[in-house]
Symmetry: C2
Subunit: 306 residues, 2 copies
Amino acid sequence: MLTFKQLEAVFWVAQLGGFAQAAQKLHTTQSAISKRVQELEALFDTPLFDRTLRTARLTAKGEEMVAIARRLLEQRDGAVQQFSKPQVTERLLRIGVTELTAMTWLPRWVSLLKKDHPGLLIQPSVSDSQDLRESLLADEVDLIVVPEAYIDNRFTHRKVGNVENAWMAKPGLLPQRKSRRLHDLSTQTILTQGPRSGTGLAFRQWAQRTGFQPDKTIVSNNLLAIIGMTVSGLGVSHLPRNCLQPMIETGLLEVLKVTPALPDVAYYAAHKQEQRSTWISSVALLAGESCDFNRSFQLPLQVSGA
Amino acid sequence: MLTFKQLEAVFWVAQLGGFAQAAQKLHTTQSAISKRVQELEALFDTPLFDRTLRTARLTAKGEEMVAIARRLLEQRDGAVQQFSKPQVTERLLRIGVTELTAMTWLPRWVSLLKKDHPGLLIQPSVSDSQDLRESLLADEVDLIVVPEAYIDNRFTHRKVGNVENAWMAKPGLLPQRKSRRLHDLSTQTILTQGPRSGTGLAFRQWAQRTGFQPDKTIVSNNLLAIIGMTVSGLGVSHLPRNCLQPMIETGLLEVLKVTPALPDVAYYAAHKQEQRSTWISSVALLAGESCDFNRSFQLPLQVSGA
DNA sequence: CATTCTTACGTACTGCGTAAGAATG
DNA sequence: CATTCTTACGCAGTACGTAAGAATG
């Protein structure tokens, strides 16, 4: 069983360069530290320190473990700190959105919020849907806007908009044709988002259902990166249609008519049902009013000179 | 002391709706679960379950704790799984970049990589600099491109480029003037990135040194969101200059001449020094060749209709 | 009165510290 | 031969299981 004590041991040994120093730091003895490290080594059946030298030197696996330990310990300390502080400032509104929202209607929403609630401190953070959902559960944000799939009974939610998707590619990448079947795409490199993203998840599930299995894929966790790589002709991707209209009109992207068509994705604003709820509800309402995934935005990326 | 056992207890009690079920799941007794939960409640001096009901119901704080527990346990399991798998596929290249890189020269880099290494599976992930650094340490990515501040002795690194920053705002937001002092900005709302971002960190340190203390700030973790809000006139921000040239030319943004000037930020490609290094080095070299933060890209955002 | 959680108590065991041992430079 | 980590061993405290108690619906 992995424990924090073990992680603390390897971390501080690595940090301070010795078992003795780590022992002092953790208010225990060298012996205990040695044991905890050995437990960890036994657990994963791999040495973490090079014992041939007199002084403790990390192995490659040890380096990795230290990095993992640092992360887990930071997570723990952060969680403790967050949980310990009794209340968040009342005039701070932390909203979480995905990239697509950030690119389209976030500014308008913030703008309306500032007008309706002057003096309010707004903190918009952008992340993938799964991260946002977890942040909301852990009370790290007050309200999120995510695809339907990430909505949960525990949240109060309200639909804010719909996103229409389409297959896109660099014009000329594929032979010109009126329309095509999904199968025709499977030899192409498919650019898609990771499983932590709403669009990525929806696409994966849809691909599963339709039995679509592309040969090659490039996976990224970032919409803009996908768009950029698509524009550069690195592959075919499924992208929000309407907001990319200008890029289609200027000939940077081409919409591919493919059957069956990609599904729409519905977006919801969600927050916890608590005391602040009534107030937060008005924020969610404003989200619904300002939401517009179809507003066009222009070429966000250079065309690669490859 | 917070332990995984305690977290597992509250998590599974919440998940399965009872102490007895959780006990079964964790191969122990109700009594032990009860104790672990009580330890946690004592640790934070707050009830996690409502004991007035016959069946276990979470309190508000309990909900929060469950979310925190879920996250920490997921982190742990992920770490274990990652550490347990002996080796990553040799033909998979996982690169980590910041948003700015994703928006400017990532597609070109990927394009060159595909040309030089056909058949290579490329996985670009986009995140903040601190995240990327941690991911590299934990062997979750093979190579990252981040600002100088996040480079570490443990990494092999190579400079790839330089980013020139400037103060920007929506034209007309501030009274027209040839040039201004930093002090003149302190009454404006400052849009800036969070402390986990390279630019955000550099700015904070710089602000500290120059004694700049803005009245109001809007903090986000996303460059695109900052740009969007700036274009919408929500405040003044420090942004990469050259790549936003088209937005300046089309009158969406205005560069403010302010003394003292904002510092440049140097970007480096970094990777661990290991067996694969020689190969990875060539990837880093290509990064240096394709890097160009000054390539213009056009308006990535709608103008807010607020 | 059945179900669900808490409390009490005796036990087993894990993890700790002391101190001696091994290895290195 | 001093320093650094490991091993051995006995001890102590912790966490556990059993079983009885309290509270709820």
